[in-house]
Symmetry: C2
């Protein structure tokens, strides 16, 4: 029996009970090879008997490794984000790391506060979907010795590893697809125009519109709460002003779908729609939602890989950028397969 009855047993308690030195007990704990088998068994037996639980906090203090990875996302409700987290989680677990997940709610101030909190907890690495593309996420917040990988948004003027997708190209492709259906009054709808992803997707959309000689029109709200049916009707639809909508992100699509329904307009039938980002039941809608699908699993996996490469190995690698291919998934809402007017030669 350990002397103190209340406190959890420490390695010292174990060592005492096993009649070995603290260091020997420590060696057994860490699976060091240079301990006599006999003592190993004895120490392990005592550990089991006492119900010994190593204190990772104490270990971390000494090793300067907390075994935790921070991950900051903008919106936990977004299934894309969840899939990324799941992938990161898998890699982290396989490496014996644990994830501290927080959300910035897309607000740079919250993001800063969360970073500070994580740094104080001495995370070994950070994976972050930045809340803004501006220079807020700067190195004065993050100590240089915390490897960081950004995903989704790209932050100007930083040297973080990053994983992004083909925003511009995929947006262009989606737009081209709608154009091939014969639509020319295609409106891009989105939130937070100042984000990197928004800008890139708009650029892709514009490129395709311009190539066909059509006029691009973008409707943005600063925050999704402003994306109401009324706004849709007055700003986007404007009577006959829109034949098709290109929704620039998940939360936008959600609000656009609800708004159109409230207006008695069938998304995909009365007006064509392609969404950047998919839904759990996107295929089950009628008509099925045509989407640009982000490779969320690879995105998480690659982000984690980049991070662990720095963690395990060389801290001084040059900063790397990975661009993953997003995929245009054609279902019906784009105009395909609902007696739509798909023009010959369409994708």
């Amino acid at each position: 029996m350990p002397i103190r009855n209340k406190r959890a047993p420490t390695l010292a308690d174990v060592a005492r009970a096993a009649r070995v030195s603290l260091k020997t007990a420590s060696r057994v704990l860490n699976g060091a090879s240079n301990v006599r088998q006999e003592k190993v068994s004895k120490v392990q037996a005592v550990m089991a008997r006492l119900g010994y639980r190593p204190n990772e906090l104490a270990r971390s203090l000494m090793t300067r490794k907390s075994g935790t990875i921070g991950i900051i996302v903008a919106n936990l409700a977004n299934p894309f984000v969840i899939e990324v987290i799941k992938a990161v989680q898998q890699v982290a677990r396989a490496n014996g790391y644990v994830l501290i997940i927080t959300s910035s709610e897309g607000q740079p101030e919250v993001e800063s506060a969360e970073i500070e909190s994580l740094v104080r907890r001495r995370i070994d690495g950070l994976i972050i979907a930045p809340a803004s593309s501006g220079p807020r996420l700067s190195s004065h917040l993050l100590p240089a010795n915390i490897p960081t990988v950004t995903f989704d948004q790209l932050v100007r003027g930083t040297a973080f590893d990053s994983v992004i997708i083909t925003n511009r190209q995929s947006a262009s492709e989606a737009t081209r697809h709608m154009i091939a259906h014969g639509y020319r009054r295609i409106v891009a709808v989105g939130t937070r125009p100042y984000l990197y992803t928004s800008k890139e997707r708009v650029a892709g959309y514009r490129r395709s519109m311009a190539q066909s000689g059509f006029e691009a029109r973008e409707c943005f709200v600063k925050h999704e709460s402003l994306l109401t049916a009324k706004w849709l009707e007055e700003e986007v639809l404007r009577g006959e002003a829109a034949e098709a909508i290109f929704s620039l992100n998940w939360v936008t699509t959600q609000h656009v779908l609800r708004g159109l329904r409230d207006l008695g307009i069938s998304a995909g039938r009365d007006i064509a729609l392609i969404s950047f980002d998919d839904f759990d039941l996107g295929e089950m809608l009628t008509p099925g939602l045509s989407v640009v699908q982000q490779p969320s699993d690879s995105l998480g996996r690659e982000s984690a890989r980049l991070l662990f490469e720095r963690l395990k190995g060389d801290h001084a690698l040059p900063s790397r950028r990975i661009v993953l291919q997003a995929r245009l998934v054609i279902r019906q809402s784009c105009g395909c397969g609902v007696g739509g007017t798909l023009v010959a030669g369409a994708p």
Copy 2:
């Protein structure tokens, strides 16, 4: 300038630079009142100048409080789970705590491993959706001094605080609603029959069926991967054997919807359907999905509240159980509003 150029500045560095004692610096850090204002300012100035970041790990070692809450869920993909986490996260953040989120994948062995990992990291509290209702989640895994709240599943023979919902009653209500539509061949479909939630929901379903003198029929798969279109056709539908389906959880509904579509059967039109658990776009399906909606936000909030009550105050409170009311949300797939055969007197 601190002497060591490489290492992050410590409180000792701060104290030295500010020409005060370590303890005074510590007092300033913790906002103690008994320090002369002059010194407070000085220390704070030095902290800012040096870019000092308190090491929470070191503090935790001494205070025996890590400022972290563990949360273990069965499936991060489930939006219900995510909403619970979001609510818990909010409360945790408001209390200065951080969340370590892990997933058991519904497997008791993984759950045990995750618990062990969290205990070693000295979480201050645990919120867990148990992977099984059996006695696996027992106190030999969890030290008695780690307050724990379970939600979703109820674990037999433990004294944890818990937050659950009206599984039985709500399942009964949903079944009654379908019966009122005139259906009598209503089949309950689900996964993992051994779970508390499954049993309760089945019990509610059976009660309503029995009250109307109808024969209850349940179709279970052990794992969702077995829930294929073929299985649906052969085990659930069996020709005309099913007029309505009561899907017992989120993942089941997802597979049932896909399966029915693959069979060319419209869920809600050709066969009635009520789902336990809602979807992001549940309302946007055609017909709209009728569901039992769990109060996920309250569930998370209440779980967190129970936990923090123990954390902040009395550890020796008697164990409490909170039962929250789930809500039957009638859209169309139950038979309402699609020219269904709703019988007079239906809810």
